[in-house]
């Protein structure tokens, strides 16, 4: 296998901290104690859902800077994205800050994309620190990608629930407890799935491709990791990922977990689990960091998963191309 766009970081780069702001449904889930702020409503003190999502990004970065004792002018670069057309949310949130900004879009793999780019630029010595902020909002996304939530359209049992959340991470060259060790940039993979409610199935082949490439690049097997955590494959997508990996003779056991399955209790009626760019962003910048602090894991492989669909592509009868990026974390 030729290894392209798999990077191992020779100079250390760390996750200095994280902050997550979530909506009411996420605040009733199993991870509620780890979130920094829970909004009481999906439209909280703002005049639109979009402005609520902008407020969540603002709050997440403000809380992150407070927790890490930093401020705008000490951050070299802001990397971010969201699911709304033309990154409306991130553009306006970035416009409130005095930090150079690069907008990213790889759907729900955007947080992984941001970590790998920020870590690369820090390792290369171009910047000393970077904030990565990514969000999604159930009502802004459902209206845009599927149906306005007010219509009350019945959802199929294999669908996922778009998470209302913003997650922010501070990457830094300054010594900290969690090191970003390396990454693998994903390729677009398309198995021909056309059902916009079946994103787990669309994304699983991309996740498998990236995991195989990263393990091959590193000369590792899956049991070199304590946890291989996908972004938002959901139950259905995670099962498909394991099936695909077992065909490649990878041990796909209980160390494979999914952030979207962690987000909600089964009784919360989210079917296959959480999804959305804010899902991995908020789980990784809250609960996952806490697991590292509590020494639950030593080495973790994050797999950001993104379904690259749009209403235009779905409306014109196209398939759902997908992508996944790998980020390797290690407790120092």
């Amino acid at each position: 296998m030729i290894h392209r766009s798999s990077f191992l970081f020779p100079a250390p780069v760390y996750i200095a901290g994280g902050a997550a702001v979530v909506g009411p449904k996420e605040g009733e889930g199993p991870l509620k104690e780890y979130f920094d702020k829970i909004y009481p409503s999906i439209q909280s003190a703002e005049e639109s859902w979009e402005k609520t999502e902008i407020a969540m990004q603002r709050d997440a970065v403000n809380l992150l800077l407070k927790k890490t004792r930093s401020e705008d002018r000490r951050v070299d670069l802001l990397l971010g994205g969201d699911l709304i057309n033309q990154l409306t949310i991130t553009n306006f949130a970035a416009g409130e800050r005095d930090i150079p900004f690069l907008g990213l879009y790889n759907a729900c793999a955007t947080m992984a994309e941001g970590i790998l780019l920020g870590a690369s630029l820090i390792n290369a010595g171009y910047i000393g620190s970077s904030v990565v902020v990514v969000s999604s909002h159930n009502a802004t996304s459902e209206r845009q990608f599927r149906y306005p939530t007010e219509l009350g359209i019945q959802r199929p049992s294999w669908s996922q629930w778009t998470v209302t959340a913003a997650g922010a991470l501070l990457l830094s060259s300054a010594l900290s407890k969690i090191r970003v060790r390396g990454c693998t940039v994903g390729r677009v993979v398309d198995y021909g799935v056309k059902d916009a409610n079946d994103m787990g199935a669309a994304m699983a082949p991309a996740a498998a491709d990236t995991i195989l490439r990263h393990l091959s690049f590193r000369g590792q097997s899956s049991d070199d990791y304590d946890l291989i955590l996908s972004g938002d494959l959901g139950s259905r997508g995670l099962d498909l990922l394991k099936t695909l990996l077992r065909k490649e003779e990878i041990l796909a056991d209980e160390r494979f977990q999914d952030s979207g399955r962690w987000m909600y209790f089964p009784k919360q009626d989210v079917f296959s689990g959480g999804s959305g760019a804010g899902c991995s962003a908020s789980v990784w910048s809250s609960y996952l960091l806490n697991c590292f602090r509590e020494k639950k894991y030593r080495r973790v492989l994050l797999i950001g998963t993104g379904a690259l669909l749009s209403t235009i592509s779905v409306g014109q009868g196209n398939t759902i191309p997908s992508i996944a990026h790998a980020v390797e974390l290690e407790r120092v």
Copy 2:
């Protein structure tokens, strides 16, 4: 001034080549002889405008790889973006290739964003080569951002014409004639412009901010460059940029030019000039490279300019935040 996210590349990185594919109107403009392919129609042998734009990206990268005697498996990274919701065009074009992919969105500053990220990753030694591909299409964009073109809505005299084009560049560590010397990542700047037809005015302050930051970082004045070329400010935006720079005592003379003004003849009725992510992408990857080859310029500062609007933000009565990134090129 604190210099954040301004990078000088110590190891050399080069633009190994470029290719540009344009629509019929662009093919009747002053730069027609420099384009690699001119489509006879804005919907050329494809079933939709979107699929035509995807075909343009495909053609641009295929022509680029042919001209530079390269192929998919020898390119380490594909960086790209477009203006259509969720990067539909780029996602599907990237899905046809076997190259690891990162999706970018900074509106019409996306080509500059791609060059600065690709060059950074090459300089740091993570990758050896990267293709950057960016496009826009008049009919896909106008329908999405303003009105479907079939409506024949009258355009104000200060409006610009969204370019139908895809441009692709190959960045490489292998010795070539044009070196990427450094870059400056822009900040989001918002002067409160709300007219979606007046993007030059919205973007000019962001361009001024980035130019001032880059010159300060480099300890240079504007006359250290033979050309300072903005992406798509148009006549109106370029005039405003010069006014803003003169207030800062920068010599803003005829060396300040705009890619959007270069694209069309005045008789082509495009008013303030060309715009769209494909504007800078196609002009830079064709005519500009030729100017370097003919030794017309030695040192050029590219200013990619992006208006970060969406139909949602405009419809909800918001302003148009803007961004600009600087890329410094030098003839070897």
